[in-house]
Point group: C2
Chain length 231, copies 2
DNA sequence: GTCTATAGTCGGATAGAC
DNA sequence: GTCTATCCGACTATAGAC
């Protein structure tokens, strides 16, 4: 089979260039995640993508451009990963405004559980395996790449959680208490991914699969109810 | 002042070599933490330490040896940082065995609060500023360096917390529930350091100083009591 | 758009004088 | 123990053919 520079048939919605571009981004996501920005070599990324090293400069203007493209990709996937969940909750919030406090609280807790469940699964799926390391690195010393996510889906999700927490605790959604509480709740989910080595060692687990995830999730639900119950 | 290879006077407890060694470790802690293992150059480490680059090979057999020395240093400092707190709690645990459940629970919660307070402050002090990034990196893909801490002070502290949690919840200290709960509680402390960029952005804070620390700490205490109360 | 080849830079390690 | 000087490998980016 000989190589050709002709455009592929219109049956394929994507041009050859777009395929290469995406292959490079997915390879970069993995290699940047595994090795860090500096340790990752454009050679190894191109190899994994099955593309030529020089194409990184052609498509992304350089290593840094590719790095930013990776975070735009993550932000996109993050939005898709949360699916309709966040949107549905936002809509429902408007319709339950004139319900009783107890009903609103019940809805808020159920919504938080849905978000937590999705987060736990997202943060441990194979698809997102390499997000965490990339994001964690940016948390420590944020570059322009961090803003791409933070002003995007991540920030919006945090605002939503804060509103839900505020409903349960009967405090304003703008209060520092509501904000910090949503962060602390997220911390319980976050530790499962960020401290994976400690988790496995401390729990004496071989891996963190569906069963282990469910176990952790249920305990987080219990904690959530304990923390948010108004008394 | 001319350089000399003679041993310095016995009034100084340390030889010239030991001073160089420690300067290199402290510089390496910072540079490895900031740049990651690979991105950190032995040249920049030597520069910051005010030492010659070739001395890294002389003292540590190479870059990797220096990296391991850094984690031994962290483990040492970690033990010192917890001070007598952990030891005191372990001792007291033996003497309160025949007290009432309520008294034991009160002691366990007070102890956990002491540990949490110390952890929050340790994880945010200038002295330990560079630990986190080094440790977080090892959590994602553990090398031999991770074992140095995990089998040391970190593992012991987790076991202690698990015992305290088990007392409150009236469950065996070997149960997965007690282990996971102590991990989830730690997650609330951990998120304050590991998600620093998100924390600042979400809270709309400029920095995370003593005042902010106290605010977060108090909320963690409240959550702790809510989570561990037996009903 | 994709390729090969290479220029230019930097980092880890070592040899050997002091 | 500490220094200078240097070797050699690996990396990013670019030039230019196809």
């Amino acid at each position: 089979m000989t190589k050709s520079n002709h455009k592929i048939s219109p049956i394929n919605s994507r041009s050859r260039g777009e395929n290469t571009r995406e292959a490079l981004i997915e390879a970069a996501l993995e290699i940047f995640g595994r090795d860090g920005y500096q340790a990752a070599s454009t050679r190894s990324i191109a190899d994994k993508a099955g593309a030529n090293q020089a194409l990184i400069n052609y498509h992304f203007k350089g290593k840094e451009g590719l790095y930013h493209a990776v975070f735009e990709y993550i932000a996109e996937q993050m939005t898709q990963g949360m699916g309709q969940i966040a949107e549905d909750i936002r809509k429902s919030l408007e319709t339950i405004e004139n319900q009783s406090k107890a009903e609103q609280t019940a809805f808020a807790i159920a919504s938080l559980e849905k978000i937590i469940s999705r987060l736990v699964h997202m943060m441990n799926s194979n698809l997102t395996k390499h997000w965490s390391t990339n994001i964690l690195r940016e948390q420590q010393s944020p570059t322009a790449a961090f803003d791409i996510m933070n002003t995007g889906p991540m920030g919006r999700l945090f605002k939503l959680c804060t509103r839900l927490v505020a409903i349960c605790k009967n405090i304003p959604a703008e209060s520092e208490q509501a904000r910090m509480l949503s962060l602390l709740i997220f911390g319980q989910v976050h530790v499962l991914r960020a401290c994976r080595a400690t988790l496995l060692s401390h729990m004496q687990w071989e891996n963190f699969g569906e069963e282990q995830m469910q176990f952790a999730e249920n305990l987080i639900y219990q904690n959530l109810r304990a923390i948010l119950q108004t008394d």
